[in-house]
């Protein structure tokens, strides 16, 4: 699964990084080599070559010196020429000494020469100085003594002849040594240059091989990735085409739905207005009912007071009845006593005999009256008793009625509060309904917008479809650019059920053998063959 992580970016990074690294390595090694060669060459140019030249000059200078010496001696008798050659000789001595100093100092720093060489140059200087001193002495003798011949003069130079010989032997030796040293240095530089050339060639070959190999690898890799992308794009464009068609139809349905919704919302709005009116009526009725309930409550309170008054009156009636009963009892008592008196009178009349006959009649009448009084009292007592019973029953009923009325009063209060709550609730409901109405209006607007949006999305999906066509052609171009055939891309699209495996096997069977093996471990090739067959049939 690493293939998914290695993007083109990283691949390019790796490739260019590798190339840059290789170039850097080659450049560094080359630089080091060339630098060394340059140092060696500089060594040769700054020390060995000048030393050699100077030594050559020194040899020629020595020869010139000897020629001027000889010229001086040959021109004895001609002072003008002598002066001229003497002057030239002096100049040559000075230049030779300067040159020798230079060579000496150069030889000191030249690593190719030994101390012996340096000492040789030092000895040479001594010799030159000694020769010059001897020559100048001879010159002096020649100028003082005009009779000296050139041969004599030449013989006069004998004491310093050894010095001259020393120089003439030492100088070629030194020259030879310096020459050989120069040659060695040149050989060293040459061999180093050869080595550098070889290294450069080898490194360049390796770098070229490396970069070429990685280029090929990365090329295939990138082509594979782009091929995948192209196939996916092709497939996606197919799918997007289908999806855009679906979106178009969905948008159509959505638009229809939105218009239906708008119609429903209008109906809802009308219903809501009706409900609102009803709710307002409810609220008004509830407040009216509340007022009526309050009136009923006050009526009930009045009634309650009346009932309590009535109850008190009943108690008074009962009391009065009891009083009356007492009076009746008294009357009954009196009747009884009167009866007794009448009977006594009758008894007396009977005792009186004939004379008491009239009295007996009176007594009988009195007794009758007493009996009637007693009867009346008895009847009255019965009546009063029944009245009392009725009053008691009335009292009980009154009590019950009072209780019932207080219950009714409480109920009325509750009903009143409920009714007022209903009124409040109805008002709130009316408010809520107006809000709902507002919301419905907003919903209506939104639905209209939805319908418009759905139409827009339908047209957008058509545009998307057109764009998908463009994308298809672009994908085809891309596939062509990548170098895949459209059939391969289409087969990739057809096999999108297992795009990973098929792609790997088609594009990079050799490059990623390990991964292919890994994929085979999970999905056997037999199954894939079946799939290829299926794809061929399809």
């Amino acid at each position: 699964m690493n293939s998914k992580k290695t993007t083109i970016k990283t691949l390019l990074k790796i490739a260019f990084g590798l190339a840059a690294f290789i170039i850097l390595v080659i450049g560094s090694i080359s630089y080091v080599q060339f630098n060394s060669n340059q140092e060696n060459t500089e060594e040769i140019l700054s020390k060995d070559a000048p030393l050699l030249l100077d030594t050559n000059d020194l040899v020629s200078g020595m020869l010139t010196l000897r020629r001027y010496e000889k010229d001086f001696f040959l021109n004895i008798g001609n002072p003008e020429k002598q002066a001229e050659y003497l002057k030239k000789h002096a100049a040559d001595v000075a230049s030779t000494l300067t040159l020798l100093d230079k060579v000496h100092s150069t030889a000191k720093i030249d690593e190719g020469l030994t101390d012996k060489n340096v000492q040789a140059f030092a000895a040479m200087r001594q010799d030159i100085k000694a020769y010059n001193a001897g020559f100048l002495q001879v010159v002096k003798q020649v100028q003082e003594d005009a009779s000296i011949t050139p041969q004599q003069a030449n013989k006069l130079m004998a004491p310093v002849k050894q010095n001259i010989h020393n120089i003439e032997t030492t100088l070629p030796e030194q020259e030879e040594q310096i020459k050989s040293m120069f040659r060695e240095s040149a050989n060293t530089v040459m061999s180093k240059s050869k080595t550098a050339k070889l290294i450069l060639a080898v490194l360049s070959a390796i770098g070229f091989a490396f970069i070429a190999a990685s280029g090929v690898l990365i090329n295939r890799r990138i082509l594979g990735i782009i091929g995948d992308v192209a196939r996916n794009l092709s497939e996606s464009s197919h799918q997007i085409n289908g999806a855009s068609a679906q979106i178009a139809s969905s948008s159509q349905i959505l638009a229809e739905g939105a218009s239906e919704q708008a119609a429903s919302l209008e109906e809802t709005s009308a219903s809501l207005e009706e409900i609102s009116a009803t709710t307002k009526q409810n609220a008004e009725n509830a407040s009216l009912a509340n007022t009526m309930m309050q009136e009923a409550s006050s009526t009930i309170n009045t009634t309650g007071e009346t009932i309590s008054t009535l109850s008190a009156s009943m108690i008074d009636i009962a009391q009065a009845s009891k009083e009356t009963s007492k009076v009746i009892k008294t009357i009954d008592e009196i009747a009884f006593q009167t009866n007794l008196l009448a009977l006594n009178a009758a008894v007396e009349a009977a005792r009186a005999g004939e004379s008491g006959a009239g009295f007996a009649v009176v007594a009988d009448e009195v007794r009758n009256l007493a009996m009637r009084a007693a009867e009346a009292a008895k009847n009255t007592a019965t009546l009063i008793e029944s009245t009392l019973e009725k009053v008691n029953a009335g009292s009980d009923l009154m009590e019950k009625t009072g209780t019932a009325f207080s219950g009714v009063s409480e109920s009325v209060k509750k009903v009143g509060s409920l009714v007022s709550e209903i009124a409040v609730a109805s008002n709130e409901q009316a408010h809520g309904i107006s809000q709902v109405n507002k919301a419905v209006t907003e919903m209506d607007q939104v639905t209209q917008q939805n319908a418009a949006t759905a139409e827009e999305s339908a047209s957008a999906s058509e545009e998307l479809s057109a764009q998908t066509e463009v994308m298809k052609s672009v994908t085809a171009d891309l596939i062509a650019v990548v170098g895949l055939s459209m059939d391969a891309a289409n087969s990739g699209a057809a096999q999108h059920a297992r795009p990973e495996e098929s792609r790997r096997q088609k594009t990079r069977p050799a490059l990623l053998p390990k991964r292919a093996a890994a994929s085979q471990r999970f999905i056997p090739l037999d199954a894939d063959d079946d799939f290829v067959d299926f794809a061929a049939k399809a």
Binding site: D332, E333, F336, Q337, N339, L340, L343, N344, A346, V347, A350, R351, A360, A363, D364, R367
Partner: protein, 161 residues
């Protein structure tokens, strides 16, 4: 003749009273006075029918409970309970005796023909009962009060008086 006399003597005015559900009658000439119930002073070691004595305008008279005397169940006094004061023929002289009755009814004039002989009733209290008066309001038992308050009682009564 004797029977005639008896019949004549039975005719006359009777004071009727009630004891329980029965109505009784006593000859009006035997009656001295009718009074309401009043406090009775009980006597020690007296027979059970002798309730005690009362002071009637300075005279102490014995009181007989007729219910007890007639072996009827006792009853509490009511407002109608009265005392009938009668003159009983005793050994020496007429003596006054109070009879406690449930209620006094009326004075009736009973004819001879309304009175039935009580012989048909047998021996039961034959001595005390004069006869049975058949009235419109019902049968009244007419009592011979002298015999009701007989010798044995009258002795006690005299002792009490």
């Amino acid at each position: 003749m004797d029977e005639q006399t008896e019949a004549i003597s039975r005719e006359g005015k009777y004071l009727t009273f009630s004891l329980g559900t029965e109505q009784y009658g006593i000859g009006i000439l035997k009656i001295k006075e009718i009074i309401g119930m009043m406090p009775v002073t009980a006597l020690p070691q007296a027979p059970d029918y002798l309730k005690g004595v009362i002071n009637l305008r300075g005279k102490v008279i014995p009181i007989v409970d007729l219910r007890t005397k007639f072996a009827m169940p006792a009853q509490a006094e009511t407002e109608r309970t009265c005392i009938i004061v009668v003159e009983v023929a005793g050994h020496s002289a007429h003596c006054l005796t109070g009879l406690v009755v449930d209620a006094v009814s009326e004075v009736l004039n009973i004819k001879n023909e309304q009175i039935e002989e009580h012989s048909s009733l047998g021996d039961l209290h034959s001595e005390s009962v004069l006869g049975l008066a058949k009235m419109e309001s019902g049968v009244k038992i007419l009592l011979d009060i002298d015999r009701v308050i007989n010798s044995e009682t009258s002795a006690a009564l005299q002792l009490a008086a």
